[in-house]
Every structure is written in C-alpha cells, then in structure tokens.
C-alpha cells in the first residue's frame, strides 16, 4: 500500500489541451468575447468570465441512433400503469420516456459555456491589433531592476553556492598547508601492516606509527573544506529599461456633449487603456476636460460632472502641453492621446488649435486619435447632411498636410469596437488604414 501526495504536482497540466481547444474554437470564442464585452460595464470590461459559444462548432461526432423506430424503455417508479395501457406520447420526445440517448455531454443545451481567464479574454479581444510606433523609447527606470552576475562574494544564500570556485579555493589551501593526501596515509598503513610482526623492524614500525599518527592529526587540523573557501555567486541589481506609457484623455464637456456622447467616448478610452496595459507595464492616465477653459481632473469628475461654458479646444491642448512638460518628458514616456468631441469649436480657435497640435502636441506623441462622437440619427438617416464639423475640417486639413493624426466618427456603441480595430489594425490585416503618416 502506498499513499502519494500529488497535490504538489505542477498545476495547469491541462493547459496544453486548453490552448488547443481555444485555438480550435477561436473564431467562435472571439465572437462570443466581443458580444460579452459589449454587454459589460466599462469597469469590468477587462475581467475574464464566462462566455458561451454554439455547441455545433466544436461537436465531436459519433455514430448513434437518431429518433424514430421502435425503442424499449424500462423505467422505475410506476404508479398507475397496467400492462397494455396506452400513454399519449409526450411532446417533442421529452418527459416520461425522455432521453436515455440524450446528448453525450449530458446537457441538452445548444450552447457551450465555459470560463475564460482575464489573460485569455484580452488576448482574444485584442487579437490582431498593434500599437503604432510602439515603445520607440526604452528608458531607464529604477523600479524594476534586472539582476546581473557580478563575481563572487563570501556570503550568500546556499542556492547561490559557487561550487567550482569553492573547491578550487579548498584545493589551493590544502596544497599550501600540506594536508596529507589520502594516498600517503594509505601507503603508511600498508607499510605498517607489511612490517608488523617482524621483530627486526620493530623500531621502524614504531617510527612509522608515530608518522602515521602525525599525519592523521594534521588531516584533522586541516579540514577538506574550510568556511574561508566558500564562495557564493554574487548578483548586482542593474536598472532595466522599461517602456512606460501615459495616456491623455481629452474631452469636450460643454453643454452640447450629452451623456450618450460621453458614454461613447468613455468606451473608447476604456479600450485604449486595456490595449495599452497589455503592451506596457506602466500605464498612467491623465484626464483633461475642457469647455472654454481646461483643467486636469480625476476620472469621476471627468465622466460625470457637468460644466457649462463655451468650447475652446486649444485650452485642452495647452493644458496637455503643460502636463507633458511638467511630468512626462517625451524622452522618457510613450505618450498616447485620444480626444473626444462633438466637433464644436469656437470659430476663432481653429487656427490656434491646429498650430498647437502641429507644433507642440503631435511631435511629442506616439499616437494621437481624434474621435468625433455624435448622436445616432441626429442628422437624419442618410449620412451627414450637416456637413463636417469645424474641428473635423481643421483636423482634416492637418491630415492632408501629412500630420500623424488618426480621426474617426462614432455614432453608436456598436461602432466603437470596429473603429478601434480600424485605428489599431495590424497593417495588412485591414485595408482601410487610419489616416496617418
């Protein structure tokens, strides 16, 4: 009889099977993941969770009887039936005589539910996307050091024992102090054994014994390995370059922006944040809202507090410029910015906005996206009868002049994801690459 503890076996042994399964069902799972994320709240968008996929895509077929023909059922729990009784057939084969041959998975459901981890969820969700100009700058940051070999030390943990070096020290010390070799001692013992009993050699044996005793004493005094021989491998922390990113969320919060529009913008920001988080270890977010004046605020205020006033986009850009100069030197940070607006801007401000953007903001940014949100059906069904907004026209001119700026219009929640994908699609995956240089 044996009792073994298997709990310590490496867990996740089923992982290769799981990966094979996810690969197999990839397109189905991907669809399910996008559906699921559409229904979720923004805050929980990046959690893993259950998804269901249609069973038929991953069925394992086998030969078995279909319906029809003559079937026998022996059932327990008879209450009133007598031999020869006729019982009306229950609808759709369920109920009384139901399902001895049911589905092989035990459940008659058409969908297959299972849980995805956060990691799996995100990687399916953000599959085939890439960051433009990603991590151009890899910079020094003390927070996450790498360990580098740096010679030997006399103290350290047993795991770092440098065996080769220790033994070398031990050997040189033994040679220097003339520790008797094992062979010498053995030779002496043999000689004694050979001469013993011979009365003529008694004197010699006595001398040999004394010599042997001396040698053994010496062996004891000079240890094989002395603590002074022991060396440990030494490691020094070396600052490791890491890529850091900061994400600027700029939004117009003037009266013309409705809650719906803000919600659309928020969804876009969430996606961008998730995406950046996957690529960078450190992602910081800066929220800047503006009316006719701009200020940096926290998330809560950014999305939920109302403001009144005119609309001056340039103020937000100025604020951003200030924050960048204060805290995020472009030489150390990857800067991403997303601006959401309904497109309104005060008539005289366009020139200033364009100049700020081209001269100060865009050169500092890795990526700048402009999302124009609108109310669904606001402008009638066919297209944009009102024509492009002020801001759109301003930016369009910049793009035409070759500024690295991506711009998209979003009218409905369901547009968010496609637009996002379009902005970040790997080149060659989608044809319509975003307008950027």
């Amino acid at each position: 009889m044996q009792i073994l503890d298997r709990r310590l076996n490496p867990s996740g042994r089923s992982l290769p099977n799981r990966q094979r399964f996810l690969r197999r069902a990839k397109s189905l799972v991907q669809e399910a993941v996008r559906d699921a994320s559409a229904k979720r709240g923004i805050r929980s968008a990046d959690e893993g969770g259950e998804v269901s996929i249609p069973l038929h895509g991953i069925r394992e077929p086998s030969f078995h009887h279909g319906s029809g023909g003559i079937r026998d059922h022996v059932l327990p729990g008879n209450k009133e039936y007598r031999e020869g009784d006729e019982i009306p057939r229950p609808p759709s084969g369920g109920g009384g005589g139901g399902g001895p041959e049911g589905s092989p998975d035990g459940s008659g459901e058409d969908t297959f539910r299972f849980a995805l981890s956060r990691e799996e969820f995100l990687s399916l969700f953000l599959d085939d996307l890439e960051l433009p100009d990603m991590a151009k700058r890899r910079l020094v940051d003390g927070s996450d050091p790498a360990w580098q070999r740096a010679g030997y030390s006399v103290s350290g943990s047993p795991a770092n024992l440098a065996l080769g070096r220790t033994m070398r020290n031990s050997m040189s010390r033994r040679i220097a102090l003339k520790r008797p070799k094992h062979e010498t001692v053995q030779a002496l013992e043999e000689e004694i054994a050979a001469l013993e009993g011979d009365p003529e050699q008694a004197e010699r044996v006595l001398a040999l014994r004394a010599e042997l005793e001396r040698q053994i004493q010496r062996t004891r005094r000079i240890p094989w390995i002395d603590p002074i021989d022991v060396r440990y491998r030494r490691f020094d922390p070396v600052p490791k370059p890491v890529a850091r990113a900061v994400m600027f969320c700029l939004m117009d919060v003037s009266g013309s922006m409705t809650e719906d529009m803000k919600d659309l913008a928020k969804r876009f920001y969430t996606l961008l944040f998730l995406f950046l988080q996957r690529r960078y270890k450190h992602v910081e977010i800066v929220f800047i809202r503006h009316t006719h004046e701009a200020s940096e605020v926290d998330e809560e205020t950014f999305f939920y507090s109302r403001e009144t006033g005119g609309t001056l986009v340039s103020t937000a850009l100025e604020e951003m410029q200030k924050v960048v100069a204060d805290r995020y030197p472009p030489s150390e940070w990857n800067i991403y910015a997303a601006q959401a607006s309904d497109g309104d801007n005060a008539a005289g401000d366009s020139q200033k906005t364009a100049r700020l953007l081209v001269d100060a903001i865009l050169p500092a940014c890795q990526y700048y996206a402009y999302i124009e949100v609108g109310r669904e059906g606001e402008h009638g069904i066919p297209g944009f009868p009102r024509g492009p907004t002020d801001l759109w026209r301003t930016y369009e001119a910049l793009v035409a002049a070759g500024a690295p700026l991506a711009m998209k219009k979003v009218r409905h929640r369901r547009d968010i994801f496609p637009v996002f994908r379009e902005l970040f699609a790997k080149r060659g995956v989608l044809d319509s690459t975003p307008a950027q240089a």
Binding site: L4, N9, S14, R20, H65, N78, K79, E83
Partner: protein, 510 residues
C-alpha cells in the same frame, strides 16, 4: 464519548493526515479480507486537488493522456459547471491498473476518505481484479506504462509532423472510437509489449527500405474476378466490426505514424469496453462493499455515530433513484440498481422467501451471501447479471415497467410491469438495455476492392427501424473517408430482411 472508545477510534472529527489514511486503509483491509473475503490488487492512494480532479475528468479518467483539444473542451465544461455550483466533483476516481490507483480529493473529510477508500480501493479494486471481462480484456499491469508511451508517442508525432496533422488523425480516430473495439474474444491484450512492437516495426521498415526497389517496374495487376471476391474478403478479415482495426491494417495511404495513432486510440477504447459493460455491477459491488465496511467499522466502535451518519448521508444521495416522472430523472442510476441488487442477493442467500426459493433455487438460503456475490462479481456482466439475478421482489420495489415507443404508433404502450405475468419479460427488457452490442449501432466493414476503385463499403444492420442520426453519421463518415482516402459508402440495411433503407456516400476531402 468515553475515554475507552477513544482508543479504538480510527480518527477524530473531520481532519485527516497521511497516517490517518493509512490507518483507515488497514482497518478496511482487515474487514475486506477477513469478513468479505475480497481479493484485490495492492493499492496506491493518491491525494489530489480539485483542479487535478477536473483534469482527470476531462481525460476520461485516465491520469496521463495524450494531448487533444477535446480534453480541453471537457475540462472547460466541467470547470464552468463546478464553478457555478451546478455540479459537485466525484469524491474519487479509480483506475483499473496494478497497483490499483485511487485518486482521493484533498477537500474530503476523514469520513469521506474512509468511504472512498472502502468504495474504490476495495470495492472497485476487487471487481477489476476478479471480473472475467477485466481479466480477459484488459491488462492492468501494462496500462500506466502504455499511457505514458502513448502520450510520448503522440507528442513526438506532433513535433515531427506538426500539431495540426496529428490533430486531424486524432479527430477522425475519436469519431470512430465507439466502433474501434473487438466485441468477441481474441488473444489477451499485452500492453507492455506494445511499445516494443512499435519500435520493432519501425526498425524493420528501416532495414527493409531499399531505394533500388522503387525503380522496379510495377507488376501488372490482374483484373479481379468474381470468384476472387470471397478470397479477398477472407484475406481482409471481412466483415469487420472494428473499423479502427480495419483502417490500421488496411487503409492504403496512411503513414506508419498515423496507423500507430489509430492503434493507440483503439487500444484505449478497447480498454474501456469492460467498464461500459459492467457499470451497474461495478458500482453495485463498490457501493455494497463500502456500505458493509463502514457499518462494520461502526459496529467495532472504530468510527463514531456521527461519522456513520455522515457516510450514510453521502451513501443515500448516491443511491437515490428518482421515478421516471420526476424532474431529476435521468435514466436508471447504476449505483441504485447495483446496490439494490447486491443487497437483494444477500437477503435471498440469508433469508429467502418462498418466492425466492422458487426463482433462485441455486443459492436461496445458502447462508453465505459473500460467496454468491463473489461468484456473481467474477462471472457476469451487466446484461447477464440482471437476466440472472434480478428478483421479482426488487422489480416490485423499484416499480419497474416496460414501455415500448414505436414511432409508427400514435401512443406509447406499456408492454409489461412488475406482476406475475410480466416479471420475466420485464427482466429481459431491462437486461437488453445494458447490452452494448444491442444499444450501440451495429456497423461493419463488409467489402472493399483494393485493386479496383478502393471504395470502402460499410453496412449498418438496422434493428427495430432505428436509423443513424443523419447529420452526425455523415460527419463521422467524412472522418472515415479522410483516413481511408477514397470514397466511403454506408448502407443502412434492415435486419432481419436485408432491405436497403438508406445509403450515405462520402468522398474524402480534397
């Protein structure tokens, strides 16, 4: 609880450690050996976590299986149900191997461990070692090594030929798994030599390979005549019910590694055949044994009243049999039927009624219940066991009745019930439900002309008008065609009669 009792108790409370398991095992072994006269493979008890239990579930209860996406699918499914609390996990999994491996969960209480050890390490273990089907069809000594070999082999194939290529073969072989068994006795399996055989076959191929041969002109093929048809079929061992075996031996365009993978799937399927044929008896045996052992432990004062009640609580929920009109009904519960029959046999042996003496003259009143049970456990499978041992009293207790569902008739008909006129017919009908040869579709390879168009012809012998499920049958045939590489025809033929009912023709994917 008095001080005196404390000395005899195997454990206190719900906590346990490895010594407790040992003490429990030894106490169970004493009762199983001396009082029940059981005979078992030596035990190996492995403590595992819930995740590992899910893992074992996913790979059909085998501890180390090769990699395949379907195991990942089952894992995900079980895990989701377990997480949502829809389904608990089995307390144990036991493997028919020598030594017999029982997995017990770390979450179990001490009493549950006692129950599980008595159930698996003695009940199932005795059954595996003694039942005729297991003795003849499975190789308990070789299975663990064979699984290790299979896993390694599949992995090596993946490295050499790519994951996708291996997956395609496995998918196809899995689809045919239920028709990859020999139902009639051949030679006893010897899984230990499988690995050796594979190596030898490969070495032989390498030795025999000579580039010169490929330059020889091909022999002119003689056109096959109708008189040769008989000979050809005999040579190919047709008709053949084991489709995977036939493919492994005959499929014209499979590479050696593909044949070996088919062989692995086939061997594993064959290994499980006895378990499918003895579900009721196996569970009945294990449940009866744990019931006896735990009651005895209690009688000896080695577990407390509380422990016994806890064990009985699990025991009764396991053997619960809801009626057919109950919402929870999902077929006959093999634990319930098995346990009821074992207890009933013991009753007949020890305290028979007049009726029992009439029905079971061989052993009614023989006095030694265990002798009768041991005999039954070693010599029968579910179908013959029910046919032989189901008593009228039990049929009355379970209120069994036989319902005939003829799709041609407007209503269902009660053919027989638990009364004097119906006992024998009822019993026969129930026994037939446990005969895989009758419940599985009977499909055989009947003909192929290897020198001609190589079209593979199969027949499904349709009984009682039960045709195959059309969509899935075609999917399976597509898998079959991809292994065979030529057209595959499946004829559904009425039995008896021989009238062709339906025909499926599938071409291999290009």
């Amino acid at each position: 609880m008095s001080e005196v009792l404390d000395d005899r108790l195997l454990y206190q409370g719900a906590e346990w450690d490895f010594d407790t398991l040992r003490v429990i095992h030894d106490a169970c072994a004493e009762i199983a050996g001396q009082e029940l006269g059981l005979d078992w493979y030596s035990n190996r008890i492995e403590v595992i976590s819930a995740e590992q239990m899910l893992d074992a579930y996913a790979s059909t209860g085998l501890p180390l299986s090769y990699r395949h996406w379907s195991f990942g699918k089952h894992f995900a499914q079980h895990e989701a149900m377990y997480r949502r609390g829809l389904r608990g996990l089995a307390y144990e999994i036991v493997i028919n191997s020598d030594p017999c491996v029982s997995y017990v969960m770390e979450e179990n209480t001490a009493t549950m461990q006692a129950l599980v050890i008595a159930h698996a390490a003695f009940g199932h273990n005795h059954f595996f070692k003694n039942n005729r089907l297991f003795r003849e069809w499975t190789d308990a000594k070789g299975i663990l090594d064979y699984l290790e070999f299979a896993k390694g082999y599949v992995q090596a194939c993946e490295e050499q030929h790519g994951e996708m290529a291996v997956e395609r073969v496995l998918d196809s072989a899995h689809a045919l798994m239920s028709h990859g068994v020999h139902r009639h006795r051949r030679r006893a399996p010897d899984l230990q030599s499988e690995q050796k055989r594979e190596r030898e076959r490969r070495e032989h191929d390498e030795r025999m390979y000579n580039v010169l041969w490929s330059t020889l002109p091909e022999k002119a093929t003689t056109p096959s005549t109708s008189t040769e048809e008989e000979r050809r079929r005999a040579l190919l061992q047709l008709p053949q019910e084991n489709i995977l075996y036939f493919l492994e031996k005959t499929a014209p365009r499979l590479a050696p590694w593909q044949r070996e993978i088919i062989r692995i799937v086939r061997n594993i399927s064959q290994y499980f055949l006895p378990q499918r044929q003895t579900k009721v008896m196996n569970e009945g045996c294990a449940t009866y044994v744990h019931h006896r052992i735990l009651n005895r432990l209690h009688a000896q004062g080695r577990i407390t009243d509380g422990h016994l009640l806890e064990a009985l609580h699990s025991h009764t929920s396991v053997i619960m049999q809801p009626g057919f009109d109950d919402q929870r009904y999902s077929g006959m519960n093999p634990y319930a039927l098995g346990f009821a029959m074992m207890t009933d046999i013991a009753r007949i042996a020890e305290q028979p009624t007049e009726e029992d003496r009439e029905w079971f003259p061989d052993f009614a009143g023989s006095g030694d219940a265990m002798e009768v049970l041991r005999y039954a456990w070693s010599e029968f499978r579910d179908e013959s066991f029910i046919l032989q041992f189901l008593s009228p009293k039990l049929m009355r207790e379970l209120k069994l009745f036989h319902l005939v569902d003829d799709a041609g008739q407007p209503a269902l008909r009660v053919d027989s019930m638990h009364d004097e006129r119906g006992y024998r017919r009822l019993r026969r009908a129930l026994a037939r439900q446990y005969d895989p040869a009758l419940t599985d579709a009977d499909i055989q390879v009947v003909d192929v002309d290897l020198n001609g168009d190589r079209r593979l012809i199969l027949e499904h012998y349709v009984q009682g008008g039960r045709l195959l499920e059309d969509q899935e049958a075609r999917q399976v045939l597509r898998h079959l065609a991809s292994l065979w590489s030529y057209d595959v025809v499946l004829r559904e033929v009425e039995t008896p009669g021989g009238a062709a009912l339906r025909e499926h023709v599938v071409s291999p994917p290009r």
